[in-house]
Amino acid sequence: MDWLTILVTTVEAAVGVETVVYALAALGVNIQFGYSGLLNFGQAAFLGVAGYGLAVIVSTFGLPFWLGIVVGLASVVVFAFLLGVPTLKLRADYLAIVTIAAAEIVRLIFRSVAFKDVFGGSDGRRAFSGTFYDMNPFPPGQYGIGPFGFSERVLWVLVLGWFLVGISCLAIYLLMKSPWGRVLKAIREDEDAVRSLGKNVFSYKMQALILGGVVGCFGGFVYALAFASVQPDVFGTELTFYAYTIVILGGAARVFGPVLGASIFWVLLVLVGNTLSEAVSAGYITFMTTTQVGPVRFMLVGLGLILLLVFRPQGIFGDKREIALDAR
């Protein structure tokens, strides 16, 4: 067994592109679900709308890169607004149903034959990240310590991605200890009480939905640029559910919860997956093939998460006293 490969891939997963993308998606979910109690099950669509906004502007219409970023961001805000207007006055579970349906609609439009000229069907869009890599300040080569390292392209994506994670965390930290954040947390507890105290609950929920969408959509940009392509099925419902898993793993309503959660989630997936496939190819495990390792690693990680919820329901950063309150 090649332990060095397992170690290297695992360490790289802790800070890798997937971790950044999922951390951003989960930071957004944490604003909506963790702090405001909004069950947005369409987070994947926010990433998709941003990624496609950029890709379509640059590769389909041949317009400048920065315009693509602006259009991506603007589309996310509009999307959040459209989603929020009919649903935020309803009970929380309706928002969940509408958002998951809306996310699927968005994905199916992206992959539809009718819009193949614009969105590129199931192949998606590529060739839009040129400007981004032209701005790369790192000269070509491998960067890293010892066996751990990234190419200059990945490094550039990671530096920018972690910068976005940092900025988002800072913004969330500042907001959540302000009176604005207090209103959100109060809405999570009981929106009628907040209404009776003279706060416009609808407006705050809308702000939370948009803010969470915008933070999540940074993940969509990072994904699109890191892989220099967007495909519709990347933005499926699993992405949203992983983001929720990460939020709960890290501890809901904690600033750094989603970041650590994303790191642990990907470390576990990569560690379990690579260890299993190494063990299979080295002949230690005989009852499964290397192609079966993929699904099995999800089973094992899922089992681990169930155990976590049983023994530490508040997540890693969570406060046990808060969970105890729910049982009253």
Binding site: A171, L174, L175, S178, P179, W180, G181, R182, V183, K185, A186, R188, E189, D190, D192, A193, V194, R195, S196, L197, G198, K199, N200, V201, Q207, L211, R321, E322, L325, D326, R328
Partner: protein, 335 residues
């Protein structure tokens, strides 16, 4: 009740002197005027109030049997539910169709029958939330602490004073969810005061509160009036209604059926009918209770007579006879 400074109560009650005990009677200085409010749920008319006025600076009780539409009426007035028809004015400004949060901003704040403490916020945070016009509640200004810090300190100071008054100051850093039922009621009332309301609407403030806390809650409600606020509250506990209210409005089947001072309203025939229609265990007035007692005694004497001839269980026949006799007496009393 006895410790209360007599001045405030007498002053509040003086405003009601000489008013007729008729539903919709005009008050000298109404803060809230309600006209023809109707709320239907399908075929059921939950609220159909023709005209009602709430006197400024008084404690008005809203009573009525279960299902009378008291809470629904509250919900209409405070914007938590949309009335099918009708209009009402608060301080002369029209309030129908105004959303709940704007109703609160105008100075009409309510509490809830099922207490809504914000469990995962601390007691102090609950209090701070009540303050109005907070600069830090704007998304962009929230980022810059220096903009809202000063205001936050002032709010905190006011919150701490209120917590002290409500004897919750030792709990200030505990989660609101860890408080007892009675403490939550206190917190909810204190939080409503952070809004600096003119009219406080309490929906069953005593429900689920242990008797030891009841007196303290009663004192706080009286305090509100003594500080110049108007109180409208829904309550089932007649002792409490008699104790603290200056005026009582009675609802039944969605409509206001009677109004009057607390001492006499309970002997009003309409009120008795409304209560006895649904409940035989409604409290009785002094004369009624006496009449009932006399009837029961008379019956017992009669039983004693029969007993000599035909020995049976002494109390058994008396019991089924009693409710019939009681309701007869009630009709006499109401006539």
């Amino acid at each position: 009740m006895h410790a209360e400074p007599i001045g405030f109560k007498a002053k509040a009650q003086a405003a009601f002197a000489g008013l007729e005990s008729e539903p919709g009677v005009r008050k000298p200085d109404p803060i809230l005027v309600v006209d023809k409010v109707v709320r239907r749920f399908g075929g059921l008319t939950a609220v159909d109030v023709d005209h009602v006025e709430i006197q400024r600076g008084s404690i008005t009780a809203l009573i009525g049997p279960n299902g009378a539409g008291k809470t629904t009426f509250f919900n209409q007035l405070t914007g938590f539910d949309t009335a099918d028809a009708g209009e009402w004015t608060f301080n002369g400004a029209r309030l129908n169709g105004v959303p709940a949060h704007k109703v609160a901003r105008r100075g009409m704040v309510r509490t809830f029958q099922l207490t809504k403490a914000l469990s995962k916020l601390t007691v102090l945070e609950n209090m701070r939330l009540g303050a109005q016009g907070q600069k830090g509640e704007n998304f962009f200004r929230a980022f810059v602490q220096s903009i809202w810090r000063g205001q936050e300190d002032a709010i905190t100071e006011r919150a701490e004073q209120l917590l002290e008054r409500f004897k919750l100051d030792k709990k200030r850093d505990d989660f609101a969810g860890s408080l007892s039922g009675g403490q939550r009621k206190l917190l909810e009332m204190a939080r409503a005061l952070m809004v600096e309301p003119e009219l406080v609407m309490l929906d069953e403030p005593m429900a689920g509160v242990n008797p030891a806390l009841t007196q303290s809650l009663l004192g706080h409600v009286k305090d509100l009036r003594d500080q110049g606020m108007t109180v409208l509250f829904v309550e089932h506990d007649m002792d409490m209604v008699r104790d603290i209210s200056d005026w009582v409005i009675v609802m039944a089947q969605g409509a206001v059926i009677a109004e009057g001072p607390p001492d006499t309203i309970m002997s009003d025939s309409r009120v008795i009918d409304a209560y006895l229609g649904a409940h035989h265990d409604a409290p009785l007035s002094q004369e009624e209770a006496e009449l009932q007692l006399q009837a029961a005694e008379a019956e017992l004497e009669e039983e004693a007579g029969i007993e000599h001839a035909e020995p049976t269980e002494p109390n058994e026949p008396a019991e089924p006879a009693e409710p019939a006799a009681a309701s007869e007496e009630k009709k006499e009393a109401s006539a």
